[in-house]
Amino acid sequence: MTIPDAGQYATAAGLIERSAAAYVSGVPEHPADDGFFGPASVTWKISGDLTGPVAGLRSLMMQALHPLAMAGVDQHSGWREDPVGRLAATSAYVTTISFGEQAAAERAAARVRRIHTRVTGVDEVTGRRYEAGDPALLLWVHAALVESAVVVRRLLGTPLPAQDADRYVAEMVVAAELVGVPAGMVPASMAALDAYIESVRPELRCTPAAAESMAYLLDPPGLDEEIADIWQDVRYGAVVSLPDWAREMYGYTAQPLTPARREEIRQVLGVLDAVFIGEPGVLEARQRVTALMRAAERRA
């Protein structure tokens, strides 16, 4: 495995600026419609939580445990050359699906489906063939993202009532459909989601590619010590929120989350959020979202 020159990718400068740009690009200024979720959805409500970075990292850690999903990313995405760009692209996609007009979301999804047709190969560990367009793989990626959003929000964010979690899982079915999973396959409640994840567990394992990419993400080489400082808390939040079995697959350990530690992490995430808000367009985008949500509340 070759790790490119540390100076090329490990700067948090790129991470924050490009994530912010990705977010801003995904929230339309004068939308023709409310997109696939809309301002009354739980999806919109959850999306603004400051635990977003932790949920994002945790969902990558979950997704990477599927050997075929990981092999596809590992062999095709070129994340080593531009890890920040890869993360920003994912984040732009998720934002567009969540907040974009229906046409924009469909265009973004079609693009991803097109790319997926070229992502095929053989996983070196299991010897199994994979196709990125395989609904089974797409479903795992989807489920890991949705479950992480709920788990992390519950652990570190503001409280999320059970019925809201269920509504969120149900709302997100359409996101799986957009990328090519038949709706009938997609869990539509927390219970179904948990059962699905449980059913996939026998297939999961920490392949060398997963170990390498997650080791990179958790401790990016060449990261400046100040950024490493923030990243420690983001990473701890992601690791501590994993199911025990997933943490054990990676061989990671995490001190239990005490109320004091939880508050500390929230405070660090608040600082990170303040920095994010300082990036061009982020505040305006959030205000657009808030204004639409408030208008929806008024109508209700």
């Binding site: 700067t11 924050i16 100040e226 929230r266």
Partner: protein, 496 residues
């Protein structure tokens, strides 16, 4: 990765902030004869990045909302309401998890570290305006909790639209039942608890402060920040302070401090007389003679308060003044007042006295050491020390008309943070005087922006307790009869 250790931090702006905000590296303090701090320049550039970060956030907040409002046309008011803080949870998510503390830190940092351009300083001062207002309902609920009834019942008339943002609240106009026009500052619900909790994370604050104010004693600064901010959360203390200043300056020819309406002031509500006047920015169009008079009033206010009231209002923020012409200035916002004991004040007086009046450098040095500004037995000649420190007294060393300029205030700031000077190694700011740096870094900047001319030395002599010279300006003359009624109180009952 060394990129972040250079000016790049500044260039990348907000990103650098993320790095800078959470710097963990320990600032090394030099003791006598050893251990020169090695990373001073480094830390300075990081501190700057932190401030610019905070400033950038503020600029976006402040400038983006109006842009959105402008685009909204007729729906503008609706949009304003939609973005308003509706509940205590909204307050917590907007100002909690360190954001409110960051704003206070930014406010403080603007006076304690260098390199702030006027535009960054302006931006920082707008940071506190960056939070959306409360909805009329939320503000009314605070009034009801604090004063026992909804605002329409407590007041004869109540304007539900806030007229100004305060750092942790907002200001409404009202008319009391006995007919007085008042300004009512209403604190965001839950903010005191939120900020107090965030101030409890000393480790994170220490990390942020180390980069925000690299040339400072971080622990002293941290104590000072926590104490000042915690005080600010209880409006009763602010009301007490404002009352102290209002009583003292009662009848003053040019200094106006709005009176507190005690029965309508509580922990989360302050009611004071309504004041109106021109804003600092308006002074740009005023004749220089008017600007000079305004500056003279501010100067007299700061030093009379310090030497006679033993109190310093630590917020020389352009937004805290209203100007009425003829030198009359209304002073607002007493949320950040530091009281000094005789023991704390004495060396300050002696320093000015021995440097500027007695011309006794050795005694000047001894008092610097006594106050803790200079480590004892520093291997430096007294000439070196005087050469370094005298700049801070430049405006009062000679009796002659002198124009305050941006150049002078910048030179003061540069000298203050002059990392090349051997004196800096042995200089420090003891905790009790941290807030006074705002004289050097805030007041002089303000007077510099006014390009104000006066014989500052002559005015200082009127005020210096060790001189108490005769009036030297028409304003000084006008103060005579007021002073007869308000002798320097010397020791008085301290507030709090």
């Amino acid at each position: 990765m060394k990129r972040l250790l250079t000016g790049t931090v500044v260039a990348v702006g907000a990103t650098g902030v993320a790095a800078a905000v959470l710097l963990r590296r320990r600032a090394r303090r030099a003791g006598p004869g050893g251990n020169l701090p090695q990373h001073r320049n480094l830390r300075l550039s990081r501190g700057l990045a932190t401030i610019q970060l905070v400033a950038r956030g503020g600029a976006r907040y402040a400038s983006s909302a109006p842009r959105l409002f402008a685009a909204a046309g007729e729906h503008r008011q609706q949009l304003r309401n939609d973005l308003a803080l509706q509940t205590a949870e909204d307050v917590a998510s907007t100002l909690g998890t360190m954001k409110g503390v960051l704003m206070k830190l930014g406010q403080m940092a603007s006076y304690i570290d260098n390199g702030l351009s006027p535009s960054v300083r302006r931006t920082l001062s707008r940071l506190q305006d960056s939070v959306p207002p409360m909805t009329p309902e939320l503000a009314a609920s605070v009034i009801e909790e604090e004063l026992g009834a909804p605002p329409e019942q407590v007041f004869a008339s109540w304007d539900p639209e806030p007229i100004a943002a305060a750092s942790i609240g907002q200001v409404h106009r009202a008319i009391t039942r006995d007919g007085r026009a008042v300004a009512v500052k209403v604190q965001y619900p839950g903010i005191a608890e939120t900020i107090a909790a965030d101030l409890g994370n000393v480790a994170l604050l220490r990390r942020m402060l180390k980069v925000t104010a690299p040339s400072q004693d971080v622990d002293a600064l941290l104590d000072e920040l926590r104490e000042r901010v915690l005080e600010e959360l209880d409006y009763r203390r602010e009301a007490d302070n404002q009352r102290l200043f209002a009583d003292y300056y009662d009848g003053h020819p040019t200094i106006v401090v709005p009176a507190i309406v005690g029965e309508l002031s509580t922990r989360r509500v302050i009611t004071s007389e309504l004041a109106d006047g021109a804003r600092f920015a308006d002074l740009a169009d005023w004749p220089q003679s008017e600007r000079d008079l305004a500056a003279e009033t501010i100067y007299r206010f700061v030093f009379r308060s310090l030497y006679e009231l033993h109190a310093f209002n630590g917020d020389p923020h352009p937004g805290n003044y209203l100007f009425h012409g003829g030198g009359r200035v209304t002073f607002l916002d007493f949320g950040l007042v530091r009281h000094f004991t005789d023991t704390e004040l004495e060396p300050l007086k002696q320093m000015a006295r021995y440097l500027c009046v007695e011309h006794d450098p050795e005694m000047f040095r001894r008092n610097l050491e006594k106050a803790g500004f200079l480590l004892a037995d520093a291997p430096l000649s007294t000439d070196q020390i005087v050469e370094h420190m005298a700049l801070f007294y430049d405006t009062v060393r000679e009796s002659r008309p002198l124009t305050m300029t941006g150049d002078y205030s910048s030179a003061v700031v540069r000298r203050f943070f002059d990392v090349r000077s051997p004196v800096t190694t042995y200089a420090q700011i003891p905790r009790s005087y941290v807030i006074l740096q705002r004289i050097n870094l805030g007041l002089f900047g303000l007077l510099g922006e006014l390009t104000a001319t006066a014989n500052w030395r002559a005015i200082a002599e009127e005020i210096w307790p060790f001189v108490l010279g005769p009036p030297t300006t028409p304003m000084g003359e006008a103060e005579l009869s007021w002073r007869a009624r308000h002798p320097a109180p010397g020791t008085h009952d301290r507030v709090g």
